[in-house]
Symmetry: C2
Amino acid sequence: MDALVSLPDNRVIRQNGLASKTSLEGFLANFETYLVDRANYFDPAVRDLAVQALTSGGKRIRPALVHACGAGNLAVSENLTKAAAIVEFVHVATLVHDDVLDDASIRRDRQTVYADRGATAAILLGDALFAHALEMASEFPENEVCRWVAAATRRTCSGEIQQSFLRGDFTLTSARYRQIIEAKTAELFSVSCRLGTHVAGLDDATSALACDFGRRLGLAYQIYDDLADVFGREADFGKSLGRDLAHGKVTLPTITLFPKLSKVEASRLHETLFHSGREPNSEIVLEMVDLMRTHGVHEECRELLDEELSAIGNTLSEFTDDTIARHLDDLRQGIVSRTAILLG
Amino acid sequence: MDALVSLPDNRVIRQNGLASKTSLEGFLANFETYLVDRANYFDPAVRDLAVQALTSGGKRIRPALVHACGAGNLAVSENLTKAAAIVEFVHVATLVHDDVLDDASIRRDRQTVYADRGATAAILLGDALFAHALEMASEFPENEVCRWVAAATRRTCSGEIQQSFLRGDFTLTSARYRQIIEAKTAELFSVSCRLGTHVAGLDDATSALACDFGRRLGLAYQIYDDLADVFGREADFGKSLGRDLAHGKVTLPTITLFPKLSKVEASRLHETLFHSGREPNSEIVLEMVDLMRTHGVHEECRELLDEELSAIGNTLSEFTDDTIARHLDDLRQGIVSRTAILLG
């Protein structure tokens, strides 16, 4: 079904598949300008750091979710762009802090704020980005916007803390792993959908469906991201891979591998990762990746992710609004394609 | 002038100097319970960390400012306690992050979350505390509360970033130093007053006066705190002193000292602090404190702080509400007394 959509310049077009892509591209182009404008709220000394972190060429999946849930149903408004900026500010703040925690010097082919200006600047910049996300949220007259964003931010951090406390605990159940990535990643995906439907003034039922879709897409995306760390090639991702492995982070590939190993093998690996008195090196990381291939972790994870993405696709028929469903499916398809590239 | 005040149990008493103290004590006792209750919003793994950070025996100056501006004029309500919790959560979040930045193991005689659980836990806990402060703010129906708190938080971080970029730049003017501590410290003092008067429903003129008082008290407090780092005794403060000096932080004592030194002496000190290839040690810190005493930095700073505190006192006569003025003066007197203990 085609739908009427307003472009940023107020021309209304009849939207089909191609126009839908154009609509997202136009939205994101506008969004990039808005992000940089927002950095002007910071003092000059902080502004440049903020721009460096905000314009580092991210995939903008969360803003695209905001767009998917809101853009088919109203003229692309400043409020929709602002909603997208809110979730991206929160996301970028978590990345800036993650780079400190992971001692990461490169992200998306560019030097991180942490590597460039040190831990102090990176920690405080992350804080300032969080704060400004909430400032933008408070520009909406309804204080629900603040409440949703603040709660999602708290749960995101909470998921990260839990994951950090479980480092090296490769006996983690997959149910517990899902709980953690639900907090760490899916919350912000879900709130992106909530903000989109809220700005578009959609009914509660549609909003609940969209939030549920966002949450499940977030889970799938985090599983994909965990797999990319292990099976990806640096050239495709523009960041250091094997970081999760080297840090003993509990992710789907690691908790799938460890129960398959003999006790002797598992404890040797664990020992090498955590008790050797030195930093884990690329040798041990390569050995783990090899073991994963040998034990079919690759195929098992791929099957699970495929099932997840296909199940998410089935929920789209529940939407009465075809435009939203089509936009959301585009994003789901994006992860399907990337998974195919990653895992063959 | 006496005033009618409602206690938490709804008894109304006629307040005098002593009752005013009792009223604050009762408020703070209630506040401590509320803080811990609020930690229950966190997941179990995070809750204990949050309690550790929140109950580390701080002076609670910001909550006392909220009380001063609000309590004389209404029954102490949950909203006033919540407002106090908001500013304290933000403050504690900044302390938790500061401990990472300063590599500090002890604060208020207790081990820091950073020393106890590592940088990852401390950074993410700080983030979660910030987020929950904003969640509490969003429980107020008026979204101004979120806006004020988020903006003050952003400016607080911004002040800290600017100070960190100026490390070692002891040629800083005192005007620029004031700008920085205004952002870093005075913003949150000011917003504490704003929240207090807002919850109490006071008029705009009173609120503006209270915010201005808060801002100036924040400046004075930060100057006092900077002096304590240099001239205090650890036994009195329960934290490592000389930290600012060792980290080359630009504070009032350092920028007062350096212009008084010969070029040779200044560059030798600077060299020892920043270019010796090793961490600054207690020897160089003691030498700087000695130089400050020799060059009368102690007296000069004290004079400036005394003038500041006395000027702030003069603004109290502008309040038409004697109860607020008396409560605020109690807090000002607190800093006056501590300055006397610190500087003799």
